[in-house]
Amino acid sequence: MSLAEWTTAASDYAERIDNIFWLLCTVSGLILLLVMALVITFVIRYRRGSQVERGELPPSLKHEVEIGWTAATLFLFLFIFWWAASAELAALSPPRNALEIHVVAKQWMWRFQHPGGAREIDTLHVPADTAVRLAMTSEDVIHDLYLPALRLKQDILPDRYTYLSFTATKPGTYYLTCAEFCGTDHSRMGGKFVVLSPAEYARWTAAQPEGDDLAHQGEALFRTLGCSGCHTPGSSVHAPDLRGVYGRLVHLSDGRTVTADEAYLRDSILLPNKDVVAGFSPIMPSFKGVATEADLVKLIAYLKSLSASASRQGAPP
């Protein structure tokens, strides 16, 4: 366990954040030095009883000085805001085909599910130089996945997906931990964050215990939970066809249109009456308490694989 696990900047984004941090340090250091220098010289030069010129300042000078440093402070802060905000906006748009890893945080442990089916507890392996997107949810309280080496953290909320996307560049073993107070063992909720070169990552995934990948597990669940009873084209029940639904615009019965992202799919499974598709009646039962977090991750992976295969074959949705 060395300090490097915390402080090395393991991604381009992290390096850019370090640059901003050191810029802010120098700017703040200069202002602090200016303040201390002024205070010390005034305190010594104008101490009580010192024989030194103490005339009154002309009122106009006082006004200009006042306006001057107000404006200077305003523009300096605006510049810092623009500099920091632009770094943030650059990191905003995650690439489309990022590697999707599902994270489930539970009171005082982490569970990671790779698309290839690999499952990990408290350790996360990611390939270097590839865009990775973590879709995270919590099973109880608010947690926070904190990756110090990437200078990133994101709160994890129950019944909602929050995302963390990055592109690690330096392979190595770093630290990951929880950063939002979540109860008794909040401080023991840490683990390893391992960045492997793409080849090593492929070898590592292959070496994982043979469990087929999420999509196939999702397909099995799609049948066992009874979804196939309504949602296959041949079924007698009038239910929306799910092939190719992921990422598509869906028109709802109350006139709104939403994009079918993970949150929409998840809500439609747990709260079916929330966004009823136009032209369908809200007859779908809620699967809350039936489908666990892990099942939901698999079902959504399966639905995404449907849209991937549908777009490949160009079959009409």
């Binding site: 300090l3 696990e5 915390w6 850019r16 954040i17 901003i20 941090f21 802010l24 703040s28 202002i31 602090l32 002024l38 205070v39 005034f42 305190v43 104008y46 101490r47 009580r48 009883g49 010129e53 103490r54 005339g55 009154e56 006082k62 000085v65 006042e66 440093w69 107000t70 402070t73 802060f77 810092i80 805001f81 920091a84 905000a85 770094a87 943030e88 906006l89 009171q107 309280v141 608010i142 926070d144 200078r151 990133l152 953290k153 994101q154 709160d155 909320l157 129950p158 019944d159 929050t162 950063a179 107070f181 109860g183 008794t184 063992d185 909040h186 401080s187 023991r188 929330k274 809350k288």
Partner: protein, 561 residues
């Protein structure tokens, strides 16, 4: 305390101790204290209560700092650790910092400084102290009954469904003490508007009165939202109503919005009075008018208003949308501008002054340095990417402690020492006070500078056990906490000593120009024997217009004759 250099003689000789009955002689029974409606006595009741709670909160964090010397702890369980830092947070925020300057110095000095006989609603003032006592009783019950382990922020679903401590009792305690500060706020606003002495126009008010007025605005408008957020937590925990329950479509982030809508203005409730105290002390001990009085007033008002629009910077990683992050980040940079202006104006006040180094001035200089560091690190946390990297780490802990301990507690100590002769009629021993001030400044830096360093390295906050990598910083920080314990108990000793053995104080030992120094110390029950008439600007420490030769006495125009 050595009398201020005699060459600063004032044309009107202070009224000798005529033995007139002071407010302390009005009654010596318990009931004369517990049923008083005299704003000066209520100020002392508050001073005693918040000192007790300052040391309870201090004891809690002393145990935590001891525990953190070892990476895996040595005498506390994780649960005990969590309950101790939660207790430290709740007590320090609501039972010491929020009432610290408004309820003690504000209560005592606001009527004196504006020439009034008492605050507008004396009985409401006493009710405010009793609400504080009831809230304190709830918190003492929480301590006895096992404490609460949610952090002082009470985030659901931890506080509503998963925490097993005394959340409802703690929320009730804070709910009640919230109404104590609303009562004080209402009182100060009406007093400042309607009970000013003839001639005391708004721009002749001392800056301390302006800070009391602006802090009252923030207290009155922010605290009810805290009351509602805690009430909703109790509704979910005690009555099972799914207020923030995500399973029913609720949203825990909504609680954070409502909670921080109060809790960021709360940090301005803590710092605005400190700015008022420090402005008075710089003017008096540099013997100069406050530089840019009007800008200082506008800065106070700007902080009070914009302070309500920046709460989102506590939630950059909480699941807020990117647009909201950028909006709150921009507004947070805007609210930093008035604070920077005030720092420059304090420095400019010292320019060409006659600077003395009595204890109040040492604390004020300490305030100036530490408030600058606190403000600048606030800029780091206002920019979204740096906040994403450092929020919930020790960098944030160091930032807000620099403002609260380095800023507000230093100013509180400065005010206690500056107005001690007026409140008690006694002079404290200057050397010990200066020693305590310097010890506190050193102790502060040794405690919190290491926390900035390990915060940027990634050490998360609220951790009972931590990776060994950070042990060196924790040990230094705990050492600094030890120095602070010494620095905080010293004033208890020499100020307590001065109460009985201290030299008798004249009416105006510091030769200050405020109205509170125109009346005997300790002042009589009705504050002024005759209603003062004001015809001069505040802080007439040096004659404007023609440059003054060094050593020439400071002619101050007659006041109150």
């Amino acid at each position: 305390m050595t009398e201020v250099a005699t060459d600063m003689t004032l044309p009107f000789a202070p009224v000798e101790e005529t033995g007139a009955a002071s407010y302390l002689d009005e009654g010596h029974t318990i009931m004369s204290w517990l049923a008083t409606t005299d704003h000066k006595r209520i100020a002392i009741l508050y001073a005693v209560s918040i000192t007790i709670f300052f040391f309870i909160g201090g004891a809690a964090i002393a145990l935590v700092r001891l525990e953190l010397i070892e990476p895996h702890g040595w005498f506390l369980t994780s649960d005990a650790y969590n309950r101790l830092f939660t207790l430290h947070g709740i007590i320090m925020v609501w039972f010491f910092l929020v009432p610290s300057i408004p309820a003690t110095m504000g209560n005592f000095l606001l009527p004196l400084m504006i020439g009034a006989r008492d605050v507008a609603f004396p009985r409401l003032n006493l009710l405010s102290w009793y609400l504080y006592v009831i809230g304190a009783a709830f918190t003492v019950y929480v301590v006895i009954a096992g404490g609460v382990d949610t952090g002082w922020t009470f985030y659901p679903p931890l506080s509503s469904n998963y925490a097993n401590g005394q959340v409802v009792a703690a929320a009730a305690g804070v709910f009640v003490v919230g109404f104590s500060s609303i009562a004080t706020g209402v009182n100060f606003i009406v007093t400042t508007h309607m009970l000013r002495a003839p001639g005391m126009t708004w721009f002749r008010l001392p800056l301390f009165c302006w800070s009391m007025y602006t802090v009252s605005l923030v207290m009155v408008l922010a605290t009810p939202v805290l009351a509602m957020s805690l009430l909703l937590i109790v509704a979910e925990r005690a009555f099972g109503l799914p207020v923030f329950d995500a399973a029913h479509g609720g949203d825990p982030v909504l609680f954070q919005h409502i909670f921080w809508f109060y809790s960021h203005p709360a940090v301005y409730i803590m710092i605005l009075p400190a700015m008022g105290v420090v402005s008075e002390i710089f003017a008096c001990f540099a013997r100069r008018q406050v530089f840019g009085y009007a800008f200082m007033v506008y800065a106070l008002l700007a902080i009070a208003v914009i302070g309500f629009m920046v709460w989102g910077h506590h939630m950059f990683v909480a699941g807020q949308s990117q647009l909201a992050n950028l909006v709150f980040s921009f507004l947070s940079f805007m609210v930093a501008v008035p604070s920077a202006i005030k720092v420059f104006n304090w420095i400019a006040t010292m320019y060409r002054g006659q600077i003395g180094f009595e204890a109040p001035m040492l604390y004020a200089l300490g305030f100036l340095g530490l408030f600058t560091i606190g403000g600048l690190t606030g800029l780091f946390l206002a920019s979204v990417p740096i906040d994403v990297a450092t929020t919930d780490s020790y960098f944030v802990v160091a930032h807000f402690h620099t403002i609260m301990v380095g800023g507000t507690v230093s100013a509180f100590m400065a005010g206690i020492h500056y107005w001690w002769p007026k409140v008690t009629g006694r002079l404290y021993h200057e050397f010990f006070a200066q020693f305590a001030a310097i010890t506190m400044f050193l102790g502060f830096n040794v405690t919190f500078l290491p926390q900035f360093v390990m915060g940027w390295q990634g050490m998360p906050r609220r951790y009972h056990t931590y990776p060994e990598v950070f042990q060196v910083w924790h040990v230094i920080s705990s050492l600094g906490a030890g120095i602070l314990v010494v620095a905080y108990t010293l004033p208890l000793i020499y100020l307590g000593w001065s109460l009985f053995r201290g030299e008798r104080a004249s009416d105006n030992p510091w030769h200050a120009t405020g109205l509170e120094w125109q009346t005997p110390s300790p002042p009589p029950k009705e504050n002024f024997h005759h209603v003062p008439v004001i015809d001069a600007e505040p802080y007439m420490y040096h004659e404007t217009g023609h440059p003054r030769e060094p050593g020439e006495p400071t002619p101050v125009r007659e006041q109150g004759e």
